[in-house]
Symmetry: C2
Subunit: 458 residues, 2 copies
């Protein structure tokens, strides 16, 4: 049974059903481009790890191996190092989770694995997952691998819209869909950059209670706020219906791949069995490194330092956008985290525009990567976490030129009625009104409010 065409995949007919849907994410597809030095990348979400005290961290980790090799180089428990799980509870207390017990924590290979484990434990093919529109691209990859169906719920400057969530729940109930959980990133959303407001947190917990909805709260950015103390986590309000995902990737180092899940004991039990089948146990060295870091290094001050650095870069981004973007372009104004979510003038397509942007030596992530339903073509994600402020300004300058050129092109071909820009913007500028799939001709609309400030400043 040797294949006639050896260059074709002889195993093509053997793969599991889940394998057929797998595709490279918009972000991964950009990696080769992004790594070119002449390109200013506003695409990747890489933390500024060089701001860490590398010598101190290096000798700390070196000592861990020399002094505790019997533990740090050996297999560990599937649930994760007990000492680290205790310290993780201290970290969660900073966001109002004061009742967490180390026995309810499972250490994972980044919170990505935590999300994969939760999804494997709960989702059969065809199950429905509710998620913000847009959603974290890595979560969409997990849900697709689980052959789950994603139903996006619109959001605006204040995050997920409770009325839209309730409407989605009712529609799913009417369709007889098995809704397994709501997946949400309440703080400094990736990619939208917005944060779920205090009243909406109450409203969503209330909905979860009324509809017996399980919530997966993914919170990698919660401690990276620029303007205020973190809002209490959803998990701080409901320990029974909220499964919480945390990570040290943004507060310490992503290269160690240390995240965690906080879940009720019955779920935690299943998660441990699932992770043992997947990786046996998380790496011991990286767990000891994080625990020792939390024990011996000024990690709270380090987070402040990171936050100052990201705030500067956020400011550089918003100032350049305000100064340079053509009318009709709108974007969110994050007060923490890594991302700005930008909407192009009516008629432009970030995916089609991408090659011209790369020619102009600026990279971003097209919005379609953050939707499971093909929406998002007029959006793009801009990351300010990694480039220096000057690079950011230059990148935005290049991007603005590319957008201008696209607009000229469209005007020439009369594809755009420029007179409608402001109308369209104002249509969305109120914020809070539900947008999204349930109104087919209006896309989920994020962050129009800044367009007013934008007008004011003109």
């Amino acid at each position: 049974m040797t294949p006639r065409h050896p260059r074709l995949d002889p195993l093509a007919d053997r793969y599991a059903a889940r394998t057929h849907g797998m595709k490279t994410s918009e972000i991964r597809a950009l990696f080769s481009v992004v790594s070119r030095p002449e390109v200013v990348s506003l695409a990747g979400g890489m933390p500024a790890v060089t701001a860490l005290p590398l010598d101190a961290v290096g000798s700390m980790i070196g000592d861990l191996v020399s002094g505790m090799g019997a533990q740090t180089l050996q297999y560990g428990s599937g649930q994760g190092d007990p000492r680290l799980r205790e310290r993780i509870c201290d970290v969660m207390a900073l966001e109002g989770i004061t009742d967490a017990n180390p026995s309810e924590v499972v250490v994972t290979v980044g919170s990505q694995q935590g999300l994969d484990l939760v999804t494997r434990v709960f989702c059969d093919p065809g199950d429905v997952i509710l998620a913000e529109g847009p959603s974290y691209v890595g979560a969409l990859g997990v849900f697709q691998a689980a052959e789950a169906r994603v139903r996006h719920v619109p959001m605006d400057d204040d995050g997920l819209i409770p009325e839209a969530l309730e409407q989605a729940l009712l529609e799913c109930r009417a369709n007889g869909d098995r809704v397994k959980f709501l997946y949400t990133v309440p703080n400094y959303h990736n990619p939208a950059g917005v944060t779920l407001s205090e009243p909406r947190r109450r409203a969503i917990i209330d909905l979860a209670d009324r509809y017996d909805l399980l919530i997966i709260e993914d919170n990698p950015y919660g401690l990276l706020g620029f303007d205020h103390e973190p809002l209490p986590a959803l998990r701080a309000r409901d320990s029974r219906r909220v499964i919480y995902l945390g990570s040290f990737s943004k507060t310490f180092s992503p290269g160690l791949r240390v995240g965690w899940v906080l879940a009720p004991l019955a779920v935690r039990e299943k998660l441990v069995l699932a992770t043992e089948a997947q990786v046996l146990c998380p790496p011991s060295l990286t767990q000891y490194a994080v625990a020792r870091y939390l024990d011996t290094q000024p990690w709270r001050e380090q987070i402040k330092l990171f936050t100052e650095l990201y705030r500067e870069r956020r400011d550089a981004t918003l100032e350049s956008l305000d100064a340079l973007m053509p009318a009709g372009t709108t974007w969110t104004r994050p007060d923490g985290g890594f991302y700005v979510w930008l909407k192009l003038p009516h008629g432009l397509d970030s995916k089609l525009m991408q090659p011209r942007a790369v020619n102009a030596h600026v990279a971003y992530v097209p919005g379609i990567g953050f939707y499971a339903d093909g929406n998002g073509r007029e959006y793009m994600r801009l990351s300010y976490c990694y480039p220096e402020p000057d690079q950011i300004r230059e990148g935005v300058r290049r991007l603005a030129r590319v957008i201008e050129a696209e607009l000229d092109l469209h005007r020439t071909f009369d594809k755009v009625d420029t007179g409608q820009f402001r109308a369209v913007e104002h249509g969305g500028s109120g914020g809070g009104q539900p947008f999204g799939p349930q109104v087919p001709d209006v896309e989920p609309f994020v962050g129009p409010a800044n367009s007013d400030r934008f007008e004011d400043r003109r």
Copy 2:
């Protein structure tokens, strides 16, 4: 919808189908017991990492962080560090795989994740996986999580029996089973301790070709041979139908969780997408640590040192077994790796005997953990990799006493016809005759040959 009994799992009706089958492995169940100092544990498979040059490794890893923090603490590629993938090809060359290209290698979080990825990429629920009887317990956990059905294929002192494999393939074909692959550990099998002979390697590759069978070759122990150079890997003979799993857990450190998959490019592509959905990328620090270790430390000499140490422990185990085990007990004689597979006298049950063994302060892993079909009660796995030779001798002494006591008990209650012991042993002593599920009243029978040597020495 608050549950009436808060102590029950309110989410019990929400879990995925795959979750219901998950159960703690026989090994994990023993962990608490094993950790008690008074117990000699012949249960765990922990490598002797303290035999590593911990100071050198410690300063090596410390320097990696201090000097290359921008890389070692940052996200990396989903496929794994290119430099490490090159070095992995050098390592595989030691077992005859000379045509591997770094582009065909995917770095994983231990080879456990490699097996999980391969299984997710190929197996739908209900698919059949052929595996040795007994099989590595961690693999059975992966297959169960994938809702695949495991069909055990008998083995003997020379490893998997080709005639039995062909019979299994024919039976599956007759049943219309979708056989996705054969999972095999050809070298120093876990738990059987036996190695697939050279002629059988040829025979199995020939079968794979004739039946278009995909083979997953799991080879964590291949470089830990006591008496001869490694036999060429199955992958060295067939690059199209063999997917190879490797690991640094036994040759360097399990706590770093660095393993790999070598697969044809089309499969590799799918594996990378699957691992990106699961963990984004393997930890950077641990990958750099392994690559730097291979670049700068005398790793071949270190493997020799490990091998000498394990050989001593193997010898202590076999000498004690030869000297102390009651007639009717048989075991394999590994010439590499970590494990001896022991068969109890007729009528004894290793699972039922376990509490009495633990009372006598010796621990082992009951054989049933290594079968997906409930077989293996008369077997146990003894690991000699971790305890010192004196501990091993004491452990075997305690185990022998426990078995003697069980035999007395059975004789008293006339459960055992002692006159039948040797007959049963000799029935199996030829080796090579097919045993196993297809002959319902005869279990897969591993390693009787030593019983002859045992008799000789008496």
